[in-house]
Structures are given as structure tokens and as C-alpha cells.
Symmetry: C2
Subunit: 454 residues, 2 copies
Amino acid sequence: MSRVAFTVVGGGPVGSLLAISLARHGYAVGLYEGRPDSRQTSVYQGRSINIALSDRGWSSLEKIGIGDEVRQQAIPMYHRAIHGADGELSKLPYGQEGDAIWSVSRGGINEHLLNLAEDEAGIATHFEHRLVDIDFTTAVTTFELANGEQRVVEADYAFGADGAYSKVRRLAHNLPRFSYSQTYMPQSYIELNIPANADGSHQLETNALHIWPRKDFMLIALPNTDGTFTCTLFLNHAGDPSFESLREWPAVEAFFEANFADAMAVLERPVDVFLEKTAAPLFLVQVFPWSFNRKVALIGDAAHAIVPFYGQGMNCGFEDCAELHALIDRYDHDWERIFPAYENARKPNGDAIAELSKRNFVEMSDLSGDKRFQLRKQIEAKFSERYPKLWTPLYSMVTFSPDVPYAEALRVGDEQNEVMESIMAMPGIADDWDEEYVMERLHDLALQTFGAHQ
Amino acid sequence: MSRVAFTVVGGGPVGSLLAISLARHGYAVGLYEGRPDSRQTSVYQGRSINIALSDRGWSSLEKIGIGDEVRQQAIPMYHRAIHGADGELSKLPYGQEGDAIWSVSRGGINEHLLNLAEDEAGIATHFEHRLVDIDFTTAVTTFELANGEQRVVEADYAFGADGAYSKVRRLAHNLPRFSYSQTYMPQSYIELNIPANADGSHQLETNALHIWPRKDFMLIALPNTDGTFTCTLFLNHAGDPSFESLREWPAVEAFFEANFADAMAVLERPVDVFLEKTAAPLFLVQVFPWSFNRKVALIGDAAHAIVPFYGQGMNCGFEDCAELHALIDRYDHDWERIFPAYENARKPNGDAIAELSKRNFVEMSDLSGDKRFQLRKQIEAKFSERYPKLWTPLYSMVTFSPDVPYAEALRVGDEQNEVMESIMAMPGIADDWDEEYVMERLHDLALQTFGAHQ
């Protein structure tokens, strides 16, 4: 009997990881990607936000049986390096001592997973195969090749892992009862670059995520292994200041000088790049269902395109793969049960990280520069260190607690928020925050709120 | 100089009313409808929910200068006639003495408005013109005629008034930064019919909206002027019971007997009709922006398809027209200002009535049959009668208060809800509800909450 066959549409990191997971379960897998093979021609120029991987990503890779090789090429960032408008630098740790998020090259991780897929797992990869149609009842897919030829591919099942602009998802629009939402953020973004020093070292501190929080807009910088930083400027699409309002050299230069003076010294032609590039939009996509006729399903950004402000996009996609990986075992390859279990398990978490990511723009761009916010973080960190079972800060739940589902992190985070609002409303909190009575009050409130769960 | 020209896509009630409003402002208007002219061939069979019009609809018609002629063909419904599962009938008034919502034939009102458009306002109407394309920068539209011919129509501006499945809106999907959501409700619906008595009279009470609330599903009936009732059965798409689970004659008959015994006696072949018809889905659509390049805009269901549970769909569409009518005067025909003012004024209200309508399924299907809900309504009605400036019940704000925007009704309603939760939590409220101390407590709470606004 021939093996059960899967078509995976999309050869990005999530599609590649999914293909490996399916192949390791004994399935015949064809991986189809519209773009050329990035290992032969560079396709990662200009558009991709540098990727942050964190514990959910690592944990998911391990669950699928991929060790820590990827981490060798990643740079740990232990804290946020906050560049104040006055040029002052401050540090805000991401979690407890040693906790880090990791800056990885999207291209690098993708190529690593593609190599694994081809070498180890024997998956057939097909580049420059652009999906033009999918039959949602038979999982038959039709691709257009670079020479214009069409190719029809049969399989038992198919996955759309084709990213935020997913063609599989767009074709699903015409299915009955398909709920769909796409929401544009007011901000758009462009990428900028900080080159390496002549000796290949970084011009800014290496092991940090640099943020220039300016409330309505912000600049961030993530380190690369070659000594450069990939920077992203998030700025409103319209209004003042915005990509629309800043059109002339002198105005753009004045904007950078006024807001990013210290970055100006190291950025590569920021004003020219700003004027040359077209800003890319930021949007969220939420859909339901994620699977159709127990034949075709969506995964990763195709199922839940989110905004990058929590650094969780790829982590969430990898978690989708890990969940599916576990369900194949739990339901012993019964896809009649795997598909619904997969979408029911992941949909609430996809929605939760969408919400958390949206909210985190405010946190990154406004509150990170806000003394009161930093004070609140300090109080939480102190309390959490003393009572780790009673309190894990929201950021740590999302980033360093792969066993806490996103939906649970969102719920608990909202409850913590109410508790901390009471604490921050205590008279004299700015001066007394390190006093014992504050810890006691917080302990009382936390016990009231979370005691029953512990 | 030639007159400024508008293309209105969609010849339903909203498109017709908009066309009249534009023509009365001196514009040259072409009205294009994909279906045949209903005045020559009946196109209103099977699918359209009977329409409830209320004060917002009447008020909007008056603002555009259309008197009360339509009301001559409408049947006032002064209360809900609630048919209990035990066959018991109870009445729940809609508002104060004399307040009514009005049952109108969608076809009737549409034809009336089309006649007005052609006769009085000199609008050119074009039926069997199916929109195939629109240029969002020039407002040029392309239609396909019944014979397959294509016709290109130039105009200065265009409106998409083409309903819940709007083609204009679907074409707008590809525009940059277009936020969109479509959400399916768990319920679907079919229409049933109650024929007239032999003498042309109604088999059930005429001046009432009949509801058979059964929590997860419900049947409603609206009177027609010919003695019939148009009934709608709202039932889950899947699950038990549902349109999916009820597939066999005996099961459907048992379902009707168990839940709608008194209706069974008057409904026309309900079991056959249930088995013959395909249930239609219920969905909401929310988008932003509503206007594009100051050239093209959406209006009515095309901009905000809602569910029918508040009877506000056409009222809201007419309000869109009335708002636009007023803005043309306020901004003296300056469409650079009218378009943004229109969408900014109407979008929050479209969102609010979408939310209110979604919530009202629970109210209609569950709470209407719930004694506690009826008690709460009674307390509110008594209080509102005594302190009309302090308290207008939510239903009355939405239905009988055209000067209160939907968004304001939603906000105030949520505050009222909190107040009434406290009142309903008072010990012994079921027995004491008519006691003076309850009114006093409610007065205190209402003053605290709303006093500052009065």
C-alpha cells in the first residue's frame, strides 16, 4: 500500500518544519514554494523583519526532534536597551537572570530547516511553484511554474503554510461559513541597517534588543551575527508625523535628528533609505475554521497573521507544528480527529497572541520609555522572584513559559493588571516601592486573585 | 456646465433612497441593479426576511423629504406576542403606550422608492445591470447586461449600495489598507408561511411580532397586509438540534410538535418546507474605510451587513442616507469633506448596531421567555415612565429614539445593565419589585450613573 501523501504549500520556516514533522511520522510529503530557492538566490532582501525566537520556538523544535543547532546561529538578547529621546541609555531585562530572546536570521533558519527536510527527512521540495488553485474536498492542488506551465498535484491532505498573504486562505474565502477578518494597524514599517565596525564587531551593544520608544512611533534594532543590526522603523501611515507627511529630505532629516540622534550616527543612509523605500503595512488576519472537509488546513501566519510587536510570529507557527505533531500520535494518525482537535486547540491561542501582540505596540513604543511602567516592572520582578509560583510576569509567561498557552497568559495577565493597578495607585508608591509593606499588600492581592489556582 | 454625476450600484431600498436624496440635491443619478425590475417580475420569493421599520427609518425618510406614504402599507406591532413552550401566550410591549415597530414588505417599500425615484426625481434606472468592475480612482463602473454585453459607465462619484454580498465591497478588498471582517453566526434560517383565513384576516393576532423563544433557536412571525404572516425559523447550522441534524420527516415533525405545537396548527406545510429549503447563513460584515479616494463609497448593508435580531438593518441603511443628505448641505457639496465626514459619523454607529443586533439573539431567543428578564423589563418600564429624562430603556433608545446615535445607545445600555444587575441582585426582588424602596434604590443608582449627564 502506498504511503499517505501530504502537500505542504509554502516553504518558509513553518512549512519546512511541518513537512519534517509529517515526514518523521512516515508520510510522503511534497513541499511547494512559489519563490525561488533562497539557498541559490537571495530572496530575503528588504522586506522581512528580523525574527526573534524564544522558548516556545525552541521547545517546539525540540518536540519535533530538532535539537539546538539553530541556536548556534542565534544571538541572545538579555534585555531591552532603551534609547531615550535625551540620548540616555537604560536597560530593562526580559526576565530572570539568564532569560533571553534570540535574534535569528529568517533566511538562515529557513535554509537550515529546508536542508534538514531534504537531507534527513527525504522530502521532495519544489520551488517556483506558485499555487493557483486548491480543491478543498480532494486536496488536489494546482501550481503554476516559472515557465507558465501548470502542474496538478494529488495528495490525501494539504496544508496551507503560505504565510500572511496565504493563497490557500484567500481561496477558502468562497467556502460556506468561512469567518474572516483582516485589520490594518495605523503603523507601517521600513527596514534600516546599522553596518558592522571595520573589525566585524557591533556598533551597539550586541546582546540587547535596542528600542527607541517615541510613543506614536519607534525604532528597534536586532543584532545579526555578521556585526550588523537590522532596524525597523514603525511609524503611522498617515497623520503627523507619518510616512505620508514626511516626504522631503530636510523634514526627514530633522525627524531623525530630533528623535534618533544617537542612531543617526550609526545608521546607514537612513534619510535616503526612508525616502527610497515604500513602507509596508502591518495587519492582523483571523479566520475560522482553520480546516476544511478534514482534507485541507491552514497553519502559521496563513491561519493567524499577527503584528511583530511581541516577537511571537514564528514561535506561534512552530507551536502549531508541535501541537499537530503531538496530535498525530495522540489520535494515531486518524485525521478525522486530528484536524478538529488541531484547530480547536490552536485557534484560541492564535487569537490570544494576536491580541497580546497588538497591545504590545503601546508597551514597546510608549510605556518602555515611561518611568512609571519601568517601576511597575521592577515591583513585579521583585515579587515574582520572591513568589515565583504565585506570579510570573505576562512577558515571561508569553516568552519564557512554553507550557502556559497564550490564551492562559492573556487571561492571567489581565488579572495581574488589575492587581498592579491597585498597587500603583497606592499613595507614595514611587518612593516606597521597595518597602516591605508594598510586597505584603501585593502578596495579599495576589493570593486573593490567584491563590485558589496554586 | 453639465451636472455632477453619480452612479449608484444597487437598486434596493437603500440604493433607491440614496438616489432620490442625490437627485433632490441636483445631481445626475444613474441607478444600476443586477436583478430584473421587481415591478415587472417577482424577485422577492423565498429569501428576504420580512422587514421591521421603526422610528429611525421613518425619521430618515422624512429628513430626505419623503412623507409617511410608506407607513400606509405598514402594520404596527405594539408588542411581542410570546408563545411559550407550554402554549401559553404573553405580551411584552415594545415601549410606552402607542410605541410600535412596523412590519413592511421589503418588496413593497422598494417598489415605492423606485417609483418615486423615476417619477419625481427623474432618475435613470437600469435593471439587469450586474456590476463586474469599478475603478476606485475614477468611479468608472463596468456592468454586464443580461445578453452578456458589457457597458462602461462614467460618473464623477459612485456608491456601492449593493447589499450584504456587495460586489463593490468585494472589489475593494484589493485596495491597500482595507480592513475587513465577515463573521458567521452559529444560526442559519429558513422562511415559513402562515396563510390568511378564508376572509383575508390574520390567523394570529395582527398587531404583534410573534416569537416562539426556545433558547438555542426560535421562530418569529411578522404580519403582512394580505392576512398572511412571514415566519422565520432561526436554528443552529450544526449540533443538535440543527439544520444539519434534522434531516428526516419524523424527526422534523417531532421537533415542530415539541417546540411549536400552536404554530403547527397554522403554518403551511412546515415540515415539507423545512426539508425542501436550504437554510441561509447569517453573517456580519464590518469594514473600514467606507470611502475610497474621495470617489467611491459604501452605504447600507454593503458597508455594514448585520444580523436581523434588532430589526434595524434597513433603518440603519436609511440613517446612512439621511446623514449623507445632511452632510451635502452642511459641506455645501464639497465631496472632499463629505466622504470622510460621512464615514467617520456612520462607522461607529454601524459597529454599534452590529454589536447590539448580535446580542439581541440571546435576548429574543432566551430571555424573552425568561420570567426574570420580563421582571427586569417591567421594573425598567416603570422607572422610565416615572423618570423619562433619567432612563430610556435600551430597546427604546435603539428603536424609538432616532436622535440617540446607535453608539450612544450601546454605551448607555451597558451602563444601565450594570445598574439593573444590582437591582436584580436585591434580595426578594421577585416579590418586592413593585415596592417603593426598589424605585428609590434604582433612582439613587441611576442618578449616580447618569445624573451628571442630565
